[in-house]
Each structure stands twice: as C-alpha cells, then as structure tokens.
Amino acid sequence: MPIQTAADSISNSAGSPYGFKNRIINGAMAIDQRNSGSSTTPSGDAYNLDRWQAASGTAGSWFTFQQSNVVPANFTYSLSILSTGANSVSSGSIYVLQQRIEGYNVADLGYGSSDAKPITISFWIRGSVTGTYGLVVTNGAMTRAYPITYTINSANTWEYKIVTISGDTSGTWLKDNGIGMRLVFQLGTGSSNTLTAGTGWVTPSGGAYGVTGTTNLSATNAATLYITGVQVEKGSQATAFDYRDYGNELRLCQRYYYQRNIISTSTDYIAVLQCFNTGGVYGKLFDLPVTMRATPTGSMSSITHFRASTSGGNGTTSFSAGSIDVLSPAAVGTQGWSGISGLTGGNATVITASTVPSWIAVSAEL
C-alpha cells in the first residue's frame, strides 16, 4: 500500500481550515484597546481599532474612525469611517486604511519565490457613495504591489467582496518580524501614489496607496464607509470568515499593542516597586501578556496619574517626573518615578493610580 504524504492529501497551495487561516488580525473589528469604542479623527498616522492604521501622509483630519455596531449578519462590530469634509485629493495625497501583516504570518505563502501561492481577500463593506474603489496588496517596502478594484453597487447596503490574486514570484518579501505584507484600502489618494488596475504584480515607480481612477471617499462630505469581516487566506477560494474567540484575538493584537487600563484608585494595584529615596521608586511594573514583536515604545496617560503608598496608606500626592523607560518585549518598568515624599529608601511600596481612567501602554506596531 503506498504511503500517502501530506502533499497528497492536503495541498500546500490550498488554504487550511485549521489554525491561522485568516492572516488579518482583528478582521471582525472586535478589539479596540486604545479607544474602547470612542471615535478618533487623527491628523497623522494613527490607530483606532487594533491593527488597523489610518495612514494619512500629509493629508489633514479627513476621516473619523470608530468601532460600530452597524454590521452584516453574524458580525458584532465593524469599523466606521466618516468623511469630515469634501477634501479633494491633490496628486501627492495619501489617505488609506491599512493593515501591516507580520512576515512570520505570511511566510508560508512563498512570496518572492517560484513557490508563491495565490491569496484570496474577502470582506464586507457598506458605503454611502457608490462607485469603484481601490485596494492594493504590497510587500513591506512597497516595491511590489498588486492594484485591485472593487465596486460598491448600492448605497448604504452591505456587500460581500471577494478577490483572488496570484502569488508574487518576484521582489523581497520579509518572513521575519518585519512587515511581510500590506493590505491597503484607498480612502483619499492622488495620482502620484496610485497604480493602474489590471496589470497584476508591478514594481511601483511612486507610491502604492491606491488605484488610478477610483473613488476617493474623502471628496464627499459626510460620506460613510463601514467594513468588517476582512480576511486574507491562502488559496483561490474564499471560505467562511475565520471566527476566532475574543481572548485569542485580543492576544494576537497584544503582540503589537497592549494597554493596561487602571480602573480603580483603590483596588487596582499596578505594581510593587522599590523606593530609592524618600521621594522616588523604580523597578518592573508588570510582565506583558504576550511577547511583543519588538521592544515596544512605552507611554502613559500622565505621570501625575500615579502615586505610591506610604506608611500612612495611599500617597496623597502624585509623582511629577518619570516615564516608562525600561522596556523589553516581555516586560516594562521604570528607571525612576519621583516627586513625592514620605517614602523610605530601600523599602517596597505599592503603586496605584491617583485618578482614573489612567493607563500605561506599549506599542510594537509594524
């Protein structure tokens, strides 16, 4: 009896129904660590929902982003995009919504080699402006790109879109913790940064942030676009959305961004640090829930939102100086928070928030 190999039964060129089928993280728009459902109108590159970056180049605050419950059947959330004015694009304009996919998560696609496999992109979209829209798949450096168009046929109606593209046998496609692939939705991009559809894989001479001759949502005041169920999978067939449980989806996001929200000034202890004199502390604040992609950038709501306990209980004054300046992919800490009094050098002290909401965040976004 011949031995059946994996290649006989499960072709490596096909999508897998198991494991990490969808290479997009937070494709169902459920995770919103930064804003907890609040809207943002960024003036520069920024994240509203986890993993989805609004990249605006030199454009202004053209769009408001927010997690929404306007959804197609069987979804709970979408990403709402609202145009803040009638902002016509110039040739050099760039405004896109993009997800940068880590190289480890697309390495098996074989891009940049003769083993490159096709991928299928699928998503739900609902727009107030009908027309043809632009979407681009690129490598990390945007030196290879595949421009795609899709059509919104009916205003304010959910539509399911499917696109299959061939694998790219050329170019440099990172397979490590750098940017392996970008999925770029055009929102307001000018001709210097667009590509011609129908050309397959190309080496862009300019930017790869859109498709020539397509609709720029930015040009219509109060235009809306909702998107959810975004999936990028290996193979030529679109399959059902890869619904992942909330906890795992959150952890996938936390490889790139983690926000520790402090919810109480009395019962939400943050850390126990060592006092280095009567007014300052240092040490490890906390381990991170997931090993991050790289050493993260550390930030906090404000140093004045935090305090230390003294012999009499919670400190009545807050720190006035310090930052999240001890950073690794696994943990965060501080070299020193200072500006209070009543501590005893060498002792340990409990760190709490002096006001809520307050937060400490780390970012290792691509």
Partner: protein, 53 residues
C-alpha cells in the same frame, strides 16, 4: 521633537529617547518603528534636546 532622559543616578539613559509630543519612551531597537522614525529624523540633521539636569 525628541529629548534625552536621565537615569535615577542622573547618568544619561542610553537605551531610549523621549518623543516630546506624547512623552513616549522609544527604545533603541532597530525593529521598533518609532526608533526607525527617530533615526530618520537624526539623518535629516536634527539633534534631540538634552535631558533636564
């Protein structure tokens, strides 16, 4: 735009730099996107503010 910081012993922190618009600490890790932007800013001829004494 960027500012150096001191360790608690007042020596210069040689592992990260502060971005002044949001007080975020950026580690000197070549894989960190914010550090890549800092390097680009330095390459344009800029220099960070010195740390407060």
């Amino acid at each position: 735009m960027y500012k150096q910081i001191l360790n608690r012993d007042t020596t210069l922190n040689e592992y990260c730099i502060v971005r002044t618009n949001d007080n975020a600490c950026i580690p000197f890790d070549p894989d960190n996107k914010d550090y890549q932007e800092y390097l680009k800013w330095l390459a344009e001829g800029n220099t960070p503010e010195p740390a407060d004494e």
